[in-house]
Amino acid sequence: MFAYLLRRVLYAIPILIGVNLLTFTLFFVVNTPDDMARLQLGAKHVTPEAIERWKVEHGYDKPLLLNRDAQGSAQFTDTIFFKHSAAMFAFEFGKGDDGRDIGNEIVTRMGPSLAIALPVFAIGLLVNISFALLMVFFRSTYLDLWGVVLCVVLMSISGLFYIIAGQFFIAKLWNLLPISGFADGLDAFKFVLLPVLVGVVSGIGSGSRWYRTIFLEEIGKDYVRTARAKGLSEVRVLFRHVLKNGLIPILTGAVVVLPLLFMGSLIVESFFGIPGLGSYTIDAIQAQDFSVVRAMVFLGAVLYIVGLILTDLSYAWADPRVRLQ
């Protein structure tokens, strides 16, 4: 078990190096600091001096990989790669274009992101599983057929529509909840409610349809027939046998996104003005703040790998047949 975990963690290192090299290539090689400066400074015909100044301000005035002017190990450390890419392994992200420390921003913005993402995840899972079980219980009836059609209709609606319609009807027209914004402490509740509702509803269609397929696959298996042959009622069969087996793929499939919840949801946070990591990211993209984007890429990759490891652990925990070695 321990050896397994250690191996997975060690395996994460080449992955992160790969991510790092990829972002380095995208942000510094394909797209040189000069290009960035030009894009940032706006006008097409900026002076070379302005570009140079911008690069110095942002610490992009060094060579990419090898600094021939420097001495000793500084030849390698006093470079863009070392300062901006390798440093991320130490979770040193530097400063964004607004001059704030990215690491600090991430820490303070995680809270609001989680306040939305965690309830959406948990409630969504519960709602989807319940809805899927309901359809499976009434399988081969019209209830099931129309349930599936409803799911397809729900998943055919753009996520943006749920947000806009939610804001328009619930907040603007009926004045039930604030349109957007966020507050600290318990006041956050009323701000959180609408985004969570929107998040859950927009996931129902695809989620419950997928879970229904999983449950249906289980219900066709021989052990379900054995359970019925024992004389168990259909409800008991569903809850004691089918649910338990079906939950294994569902839970383990859900675990992989668990760490990524820290990153928040880009669109929801941006629409609802939640000061989380999602809106941070989207602002950075729109402002073309590359250091923030790079930091978020790295953070996302780390969290994804944590998710993969958690998935394996949850398999071993939920399914007696799986042993980690």
Partner: protein, 469 residues
């Protein structure tokens, strides 16, 4: 010395290559009974066939909109013709006035007045009122006849649409009756009782609905802006229809990029195992671990920089927007092949241990032949299901990416840009809802049709996954 100069944008070329490819595939499938059988299964499902009809309408519009040209400038010398910088399409030519009849600013659907009050000069007296539109309802004397006119047009359109639909069904019946050597009446009886073996009634109903919708729209659009106008007074119906091509291109070309990567890498990983598998798994774990939006954002920004630093490569705004669209398809394809590759890897892993593959190995059949004859044909249905399932997701993703600012070029007609441009207008009083509504409605129709069709395909090709009924 032609009046027009055909323009083939990159995506046009790819779209028509795709059409050619699909046609070839269809011909190939028609000749192979075991490939035809699941499609016959799709054809038996009413929901799938109804959706296919709707999709066909979208596809026709999209294809018409992919035949691009530039008009010759009227005052250019005949020996050295110059062409307009505006790139038009066959679709534009077809809808004609819809494009050119531009109002001043917002107007509600079917309105005859502008959305906002303005100072209007009435024979020297300046009044602040809702001015009449230049084109919408311009044929009417007064507002009194407004609704009667609309009702008249709707009724007329419905009757004509129905008539056309009946005519089409009649012709179809005659043809089918002759083919199956039945009398006309017999065929109609079989048709009416739903014993055709294909969902004739559903198709006829959908056909009638589509014909009526088109006829009504034509009648209304002749006199009004059916879905209103946007901020700069452009017809929203026109924008929505133009956006169809963007949606279709993103939904199809992206998969075209995804496919070779996913198929080659997925199958190779599953079949060869060992270090090949390790390397491929490493690559897709790296790609997967980067949040998709961020990767797309980074890549789009790079493309943006490239376009801006090489303006001389693009002679028109349309060409510039088109390159960005193509780049978006490429980038989304690069980030989204991993899912299918993983699926194909698992399936190839399973297939490569099957007895028929062992039998081929016992003959010393080469790897390439085993992959080509034993593995690929047996995972093809998964590829197909993935294509149709991914399509709707990609159409929806376009809207989100355009909102984030890393989608298609802002000058391009797309539902994402429509939503992005209009979402703040909901705060106005009275609400400007029609632009959002139109974008969502069009997107919903396309995605729903695609999803229902995908369901049908999946049920027919992979009964194990389906089990809908």
């Amino acid at each position: 010395m032609s009046a027009i100069q055909p323009v083939i944008l990159w995506t046009d070329a790819l779209v028509f290559a795709l059409v050619a490819g699909v046609t070839g595939l269809v011909l190939y499938i028609r000749r192979h009974e075991h490939l035809r059988a699941p499609w016959a299964g799709v054809a038996r499902q009413p929901m799938a066939m109804g959706s296919a009809l709707v999709l066909a309408v979208f596809v026709v519009i999209g294809l018409l909109d992919s035949l691009h040209y530039r008009e010759r400038l009227p005052d250019s010398p005949p020996d050295k013709p110059q062409y307009s910088v505006e790139v038009l399409s066959a679709f534009d030519a077809l809808v004609g006035p819809l494009r050119t009849q531009q109002e001043k600013t917002y107007s509600a659907p079917l309105a005859m007045h502008l959305y906002a009050k303005e100072f209007v000069d009435h024979d020297g007296v300046v009044v602040r009122e809702y001015p009449r539109l230049k084109y919408g309802g311009a044929h009417l004397e007064s507002a009194a006849a407004h609704w009667a006119d609309i009702v008249r047009r709707v009724l007329l359109g419905s009757v004509q649409g129905l008539a056309i639909a009946l005519l089409l069904v009649g012709v179809l019946a005659a043809w089918q009756a002759r083919r199956s050597r039945q009398s006309y009446g017999e065929w109609l009886t079989v048709f009416g009782t739903g014993r055709l073996g294909w969902p004739g009634r559903t198709l006829a109903t959908m056909l009638a609905l589509i014909a009526i919708a088109i006829a009504v729209l034509l009648h209304l659009a002749a006199g009004y802006h059916v879905l209103g106008t946007d901020k700069v007074g452009q017809d929203v119906l026109y924008i929505s229809l133009k956006s169809i091509r963007t949606g279709l291109v993103i939904g199809t070309l992206t998969t075209l990029v995804t496919l070779p990567l996913a198929v080659v890498l997925g199958i190779a990983a599953g079949y060869f195992r060992g270090w090949v598998d390790d390397v491929i798994q490493y690559v897709y774990t790296v790609l997967n671990s980067i949040p998709g939006v961020l990767l797309i954002a980074a890549a789009v920004l790079i493309v943006q920089v490239y376009i801006e630093s090489n303006p001389e490569l693009f002679d028109t705004a349309a060409a510039r927007a088109d390159i960005r669209l193509l780049a978006l398809c490429l980038i989304m394809g690069m980030t989204s092949w991993t899912g299918l590759a993983r699926l194909l890897r698992g399936e190839s892993l399973k297939l490569s241990t099957l007895d028929y593959v062992e039998a081929a190995r016992a003959f010393g059949v080469s790897h390439s032949r085993i992959l080509g004859r034993h593995i690929f044909p047996n995972v093809f249905h998964l590829v197909l299901i993935a294509i149709v399932l991914d399509f709707s997701g990609l159409v929806l993703a376009e809207a989100v990416l355009s909102y984030v600012g890393v989608g298609v070029d802002p000058s391009m007609y797309s539902w994402g840009n429509m939503i992005n441009g209009a979402r703040l207008e909901l705060a106005r009083e009275p609400v400007v809802w029609w632009q959002l509504g139109a974008a969502f409605a069009f997107m919903f129709t396309l995605v729903l049709a695609a999803n229902l069709f995908a369901d049908g395909v999946r049920d027919a090709f992979d009964p194990r996954l389906g089990g809908r009924r």
